[in-house]
């Protein structure tokens, strides 16, 4: 999607150049220093808090409060060691990976299944049921946390990772997103052919639909992972300090009578690094996913 648009934009540039730089629209204008300057300023502003976090984390707290250093110091590993002593960092990291990983796999599979049914199968009540799915997008599930908490306590699941995972196993957004994609990307003829060859529904799904939707499923997976990784309110309520996710552990790091900035920001830096790596590796796909989702949605 993005590449097509890019190609259009670049042919636009060529056209604009031919007409001696007199571009007809905003999209065809060749940007000057001002545009690049503003964008660079914007991105520096975007990156600054990350840098600040590392900057503080790499200094001694006492030294830091005396003056404002501009370059990283050599204290980062010392502070990181103190973080490991203060909170169950590795456990929190592992928990976050387990929770986000499980939620991601489940959301992708269950959303794709439902999306397949809504896009390609005919059944009674399909239209109204799909409308219902879309309507649930407007229901803020955060507001139902009180009964949810009571239910988890009743079942004895409070404090377990299951309590964080189960409510998020499938999302309305996922179903909607996969339905849109499958409707476009999987030809009806292909499904009919598979059925004629005697495939059961589930085999048709597995061998025909699933291979065709890999890009959309990957996108949904990335978004779900990030959303789950950043979830805070519900894990804060249902988990305890001994068995936290990363976000809950960071919160614990900060609460106390005396706040040691170098310690706290060493913790935030350490928690940010994994997700930054994911972003550097998958950033291109994330960008493409947002742009594609926006056009379709």
């Amino acid at each position: 999607m993005a590449t097509v648009a890019d190609r259009q934009a670049s042919t636009g540039v060529k056209r604009a150049r031919k007409s001696k730089g007199k571009a007809g629209s905003l999209a065809e204008r060749r940007p000057g220093f001002v545009v690049y300057g503003i964008l660079i300023a914007f991105i520096l502003g975007s990156a600054f808090p990350f840098y600040w976090s590392f900057l503080v984390a790499s200094h001694d707290d006492a030294k830091f409060t005396a003056e404002m250093p501009l370059l990283p110091g050599g204290n980062f590993f010392h502070n990181a060691g103190r973080v490991l002593d203060s909170i169950p960092f590795w456990k929190a990291l592992g928990n976050s990976v387990i929770v986000s990983g499980t939620v991601t796999v489940s959301v992708v599979i269950l959303s794709t299944l439902a999306g397949f049914a809504f896009a390609k199968l005919r059944f009674k009540g399909r239209g109204p049921l799909m409308v219902f799915v879309v309507a649930t997008l407007a229901v803020p599930t955060q507001l139902g946390i009180i009964p949810l908490y009571m239910a988890m306590a009743e079942f004895g699941w409070s404090g377990t990772l299951g309590a964080v995972i189960i409510p998020n196993l499938v999302t309305a957004f996922g179903v909607f997103w996969m339905r849109q994609y499958i409707a476009d990307a999987v030809p009806d003829e292909l499904i009919e052919a598979a059925r004629m060859d005697g495939c059961s529904m589930i085999r048709t799904f597995w061998h025909v639909c699933l291979p065709a939707v890999r890009p959309a499923a990957a996108m949904l997976g990335i978004f779900t992972f990030m959303m789950s990784w950043n979830d805070f309110l519900w894990p804060l309520i249902v988990l305890n300090a001994d068995n936290p996710t990363m976000q809950v552990a960071l919160e614990k790091l900060q609460s106390g009578y005396y706040v040691d900035n170098s310690l706290v920001l060493a913790g935030t830096t350490m928690a940010t690094v994994p997700i930054l790596i994911v972003f550097l590796v998958l950033g291109r796909q994330i960008v493409a996913g947002i742009m594609q989702g926006a056009v379709k949605g």
Partner: protein
């Protein structure tokens, strides 16, 4: 249509296994294989969509309805009995100055974050829509804040906005102004919290708007250019009206998210916690709800608050929908 076709073909293609009881239904051709296929076609779709509906019923719909039920009781966590109090919780809530304070804070932070954000993200999208070199790099650059962990960033911003040692106050002093007590002063604390929201979401929304901009047909701009419309005029007469559905989408999603703001005010200052500052100067509704329900253990009261907030969210999302529609339409000349 599809099902009917596949069923017929499926039956035709399958050689029926020779079975003695076939004689029982002569002419109908209903072998066990056929019946299975028939069941498969009929029930598989429901099976595939069932996980969503079951899960939504259990963790979405039921809790929301049960919240309404609890809100009618004096429901203390760990209490022996829960007496029915009818609408008392709601009455108490509407008379609770702390609730109104939290509501005003929420709306104030929401307005301070949404309005500048929408304007900035449209302008940013215009810049990104030029023929930049290294397009994907710029797009990833503006998206950077979106991926960062919210808790980590809130803590970092709390540090940046520190009163004595915060770099933002250092900069303010450098240009000759007085240091601001970002945590203690009500409106300044809202500015600080809104700035975190803006910092995080502007780039993301800019990409959504950018995608919509690229979908606008180029012929329209060419026609406008031939007619002598300036670029500013083109922006207001073509771009903005064509972006209407996307702007509505962005505004409605930020309304739903913005009114549930929780993490930022909770962690803005290490000492304040669930109170949102010494005088609740930046306590939001969800924060107050959390505080009532999980710190004071007054679940009935917190539930009433959840429902009032739900009603407010629906109402404001609706109003914003209408305003955005109107604004983007009036640009059409």
């Amino acid at each position: 249509m599809t099902t009917e076709l596949t069923v017929t073909r499926g039956r035709g293609a399958e050689p029926r296994p020779p079975r003695r009881d076939d004689n029982d239904d002569i002419g109908s051709g209903k072998s066990w294989r056929y019946k299975l296929t028939r069941l498969d076609v009929k029930f598989s779709p429901y099976l595939y969509i069932a996980p969503f509906f079951i899960l939504f019923a259990v963790v979405g719909l039921f809790p929301l309805l049960y919240t309404a039920y609890i809100s009618l009781f004096d429901w203390e966590l760990g209490g022996d009995e829960q007496p029915f109090v009818g609408i008392d919780n709601y009455a108490e809530l509407l008379a609770d100055s702390q609730f109104w304070n939290a509501m005003v804070n929420t709306l104030s932070i929401f307005a301070m974050s949404t309005i500048p954000q929408i304007i900035t993200c449209v302008l940013l999208a215009v810049l990104l829509n030029t023929a930049l070199r290294g397009r994907t790099g710029w797009r990833m650059g503006v998206l950077l804040p979106y991926v960062a962990s919210l808790v980590a960033l809130t803590i970092i911003f709390g540090d940046l906005f520190g009163v004595q040692y915060g770099i933002i106050n250092d900069l303010i002093e450098m240009i000759g102004l007085d240091r601001i007590d970002w945590q203690a002063e009500r409106w300044w604390s809202h500015v600080a919290i809104a700035s975190m929201v803006n910092w995080r979401w502007t780039g993301y929304n800019a990409l959504i708007v950018l995608a919509a901009m690229q979908a606008i047909p180029r012929d329209i701009y060419e026609a406008a250019w031939v007619d002598g419309a300036s670029k500013v005029r083109q922006f207001f007469s073509i771009t903005l009206p064509m972006l209407r559905p996307t702007l509505i989408f962005v505004v409605v999603t930020s309304t739903i998210g913005g009114l549930q703001i929780f993490t930022e005010p909770l962690l803005f200052s290490p000492s304040a916690g669930v109170n949102g500052g010494a005088t609740n100067q930046y306590q939001t509704v969800v924060l107050y709800m959390y505080s009532s329900g999980f710190r004071s253990f007054d679940l009935g009261y917190a539930s009433a608050m959840a429902w009032v907030l739900f009603a407010v969210i629906i109402a404001i999302a609706g109003i914003n929908y209408l305003i955005t529609r109107k604004l983007a339409t009036s640009g059409e000349a």
